[in-house]
């Protein structure tokens, strides 16, 4: 569940948290001793509601039962509050022992605090079970975080609306997608919903065009150098321009939130007001509470971002990311690392997956995926030669925010294919 994305209205809670952040130290401290002495680990996670909250509570209890000298103190924290609480906590003397970690450039930004534990020595024996995705939680080859679930971005569409518009099968090329947009419009159905207010959903579009236009080597080089260098990135903006000229999005999409309320892009698809949206695989879990239609997940189908004619990118490369946790240096080791290993064990992973929050970090739990569409996402992701982390997470945080902003401006008609690149590179050089 990359519900770092669940911004919007809940941001108000974050706003309030601005004031509280300084006061909200972690409740229970930890002892740095190991062995038989009793240790307590405070655990900040973002599962404030829903099934995942129960899964974490059960995991903490079960781990304590198996390791009576380790007590896990679960502290669910509203997702957006991490943005302000983590910097404050890492700057203070009493950070939580375990906290939510999205990896990538954001994780790298946190390392200079000296409070994030290098877990490499504890994870080297088993991290291969998770597979290559664990690399997204490494900084300079050191494992500072461990993922517990994974995400792939793709199209979630309504089978009933596609049928109504006479679309037999989901598009596999941009030409087909354009044709389907036309068909849906002819049937008076909003073809695609997008939550531009939150900016990051816009970024998915540009990033996927970049992935289709750029060879994998170029993408990797861009991530490494934190510099969008290459004509293919300009091409991505041009592709986006032509696509947006077909006016595929709902009316007033610039003011639409992504995940909050029935009027959000997820809500529009959930309520049959739009036929599809480009979103992460947490989308079914987000849509369900936004509609009274109990059958919504059965109406949902999934297809990957179409191939772009002439693009130099691999058409099976995916855009994605995941959720994970980090330990802080005050936490008792190896207890903290061992608990994160426990979370990635097939038994716990099966429960995480059943909570409908994404793909399991440990492929051994894949059989627990309930939705057929999710199995499809898993197959597609498993076959991907390269998974490109969302640019805003892969880049250092300020560059990530800059690229999301530049793409959102572009959606609002305030920018050019070139300005996305120059704004991003400028933010990178101003570090």
């Amino acid at each position: 569940m990359r519900s770092i994305r669940k911004s919007a209205a809940i941001t108000l809670a974050a706003t309030a948290a601005l004031a509280l952040a300084a006061c909200g130290g972690s409740g229970g401290g930890s002892t740095s001793s190991t062995g038989n002495t009793h240790v307590t680990l405070t655990w900040w996670n973002n599962a404030t509601s829903g099934d995942l909250k129960n899964v974490w509570a059960q995991a903490a209890a079960a781990y304590h039962k198996a390791h009576p000298n380790v007590t896990i103190q679960v502290e669910p924290i509203q997702n957006e509050a991490f943005q302000t609480k983590v910097p404050a906590a890492l700057a203070g003397n009493n950070p939580p022992d375990i906290y939510q970690q999205w990896g990538g450039g954001q994780e790298a930004t946190q390392i200079p605090s000296g409070k994030v534990t290098n877990l490499t020595q504890y994870t080297s024996s088993w991290i291969s079970e998770v597979g290559p995705v664990a690399q997204a939680w490494q900084v300079s080859g050191k494992q500072y975080g461990i993922p517990y679930d994974l995400h792939t971005v793709g199209f979630w569409y309504r089978k009933d609306l596609f049928a109504k518009a006479g679309i037999a099968s989901p598009p596999t090329t941009m030409t087909q997608l354009n044709a389907d947009v036309t068909k849906l419009k002819a049937a008076h159905i909003v073809p695609i919903a997008v939550g531009s207010k939150d900016k990051w959903p816009d970024a998915f579009w540009w990033e996927y065009f970049a992935i289709r236009e750029c060879p994998t080597a170029t993408l990797k080089a861009a991530m490494k150098a934190v510099n969008l260098n290459g004509p293919c990135f300009v091409k991505a903006g041009q592709d986006l321009t032509s696509f947006m000229n077909t006016k595929p999005f709902q009316t007033g999409f610039l003011g639409t939130a992504a995940q909050v309320g029935a009027g959000s892009s997820a809500g529009l698809v959930a309520n049959g007001k739009a036929a599809m949206e480009l979103q992460g695989d947490w989308d079914p879990g987000v849509m369900t509470p936004l509609t009274s239609d109990k059958t919504v997940t059965s109406q949902l189908g999934w297809f990957p971002f179409p191939a772009v004619t002439g693009g130099a990118g691999d058409p099976t490369t995916t855009l994605g990311g995941g959720d994970g946790f980090s330990c802080t240096t005050g936490a008792a080791e190896p207890a903290c690392a061992d608990f994160l290993k426990y979370i990635d064990s097939p038994a716990v992973q099966a429960k995480v997956v059943a909570a409908n929050v994404g793909l399991p970090a440990n492929p051994a739990a894949a059989s627990a995926l309930a939705l057929p569409a999710m199995k499809q996402v898993l197959t597609y992701t498993g076959a991907a030669p390269y998974i490109q982390t969302y640019f805003d997470i892969a880049f250092p945080t300020n560059v990530g925010v800059a690229i999301d902003g530049a793409i959102a401006d572009f959606f609002a008609g305030q920018g050019t294919p070139q300005s996305i690149i120059s704004t991003t590179n400028q933010a990178a050089s101003s570090q």
């Binding site: 911004s7 919007a8 209205a9 941001t11 108000l12 706003t15 309030a16 601005l18 943005q83 302000t84 910097p87 890492l90 700057a91 954001q106 930004t109 946190q110 390392i111 200079p112 605090s113 000296g114 531009s196 207010k197 939150d198 900016k199 709902q250 009316t251 007033g252 999409f253 610039l254 003011g255 639409t256 939130a257 309320g261 009027g263 945080t397 300020n398 990530g400 925010v401 800059a402 902003g405 959102a408 401006d409 959606f411 609002a412 008609g413 305030q414 920018g415 101003s430 570090q431």
Partner: protein, 326 residues
């Protein structure tokens, strides 16, 4: 910003109070007074220094660094952050938006507030209920206001439907998605929320105007308009000037409603200094830069407050003191 006033008030009152005392007692009373002042002022002063002055100082200092908020302060940048912020067109636009909201609140909100306050000051049926209704939105938290209006203003939402139903369908806009309209939408929502506060303030001011003056004017043959124009409004002056002050300072600090409804978007069309600050400071982890922006914002508000106190409010505080002492 009320603090400087009350400080002056205390000082002047004390001077007046001390004067009549006889010579021999003066020294000990002066000492006692000093002790009293120290005792009574120090807790507030400590809090003020610890939670207002010190953070401002720290922010000004942090603003000199390229600091991400993690680890010790590093990357001394001198005044670079301040220069970048002041020359960033996004920040300039945000400031412009604040100024525009301030101007609109004086030009539009204030006259409406005065009009409604005058109306509600009359003996009309259901006056208490009307006063309550007008004030009600102010009681809501800004977050609730923002979420509520965001829902009402959705394309095809409640507002659009109501406008269509009363034949104003042609005026329906993309309230939150149109780059040229969104800022005015924000202003309307802010007006909806805060106008009740201004009206209550003005009503309180109206209570302070002696009824005899109006009666006397009426006896002298002044029309209702003349009475309002020549008697009521001038005597309401101090209240209006305080309200203007609060409106402008509030406009310079607008954050909650905008942040929740639009996040400052689309394409920064509704950004304010505060949304820019949070975007760059907290979201981008550019705490050094964010601090610099915060300091700039503080200086703008502070400079305005000083100038306003010096040239506009001074007369009012003088008058208030004269009445209080004499």
């Amino acid at each position: 910003m009320i603090h400087p006033n009350s400080a002056t008030a205390t000082a002047e009152t004390s001077a007046v109070a001390v004067a009549p005392a006889t010579r021999p007692a003066r020294r000990s009373r002066g000492l006692r007074r000093k002790l009293e002042l120290t005792l009574l002022l120090s807790p507030a002063l400590l809090l003020f220094i610890g939670f207002v002055l010190l953070p401002i100082g720290i922010a000004a200092y942090d603003g000199l660094y390229h600091w991400t908020g993690f680890g010790p302060l590093s990357g001394f940048a001198g005044l670079h952050n301040y220069r970048v912020a002041l020359s960033d067109p996004v920040f300039q636009h945000a400031l412009l938006h604040n100024v525009l909201i301030a101007v609109l609140s004086i030009v539009i909100q204030l006259p409406i507030s005065i009009g409604v306050a005058l109306l509600l000051n009359r003996r009309i049926r259901g006056r208490s209920l009307l006063r309550l209704l007008v004030f009600a939105p102010y009681v809501l938290s800004q977050a609730i206001t923002a979420v509520m209006w965001a829902l009402l203003l959705q394309p095809g939402g409640f507002v659009d439907e109501v406008m269509k139903a009363v034949g104003l369908g042609g005026l329906v806009q993309l309230w939150l998605a149109n780059l040229h309209i969104v800022l005015y939408t924000m202003f309307l929502v802010l007006t909806w929320q805060f106008i009740g506060f201004g009206i209550i303030l003005l009503l309180a001011g109206l209570q302070g105007i002696p009824a005899e003056l109006n009666e006397a004017a009426a006896l002298d043959g002044a029309s209702a308009w003349e009475t309002t124009r020549r008697i009521t409004l001038p005597l309401l002056g101090p209240t209006i000037r305080i309200l203007m002050f609060l409106s402008i300072v509030g406009s310079l600090q607008v954050f909650d409603v905008v942040w929740i409804m639009t996040g400052g978007g689309p394409a920064n069309a509704s950004s304010t200094m505060a949304t820019y600050l949070v975007n760059r400071g907290f979201q981008s982890y550019e705490f050094g830069y964010g601090s610099a922006v915060a300091v700039i914002m503080f200086v703008i508000c502070f400079a305005f407050a000083l100038v306003y106190q010096r040239f506009v409010l001074r007369r009012d505080t003088r008058g208030a003191l004269t009445r209080a002492v004499g």
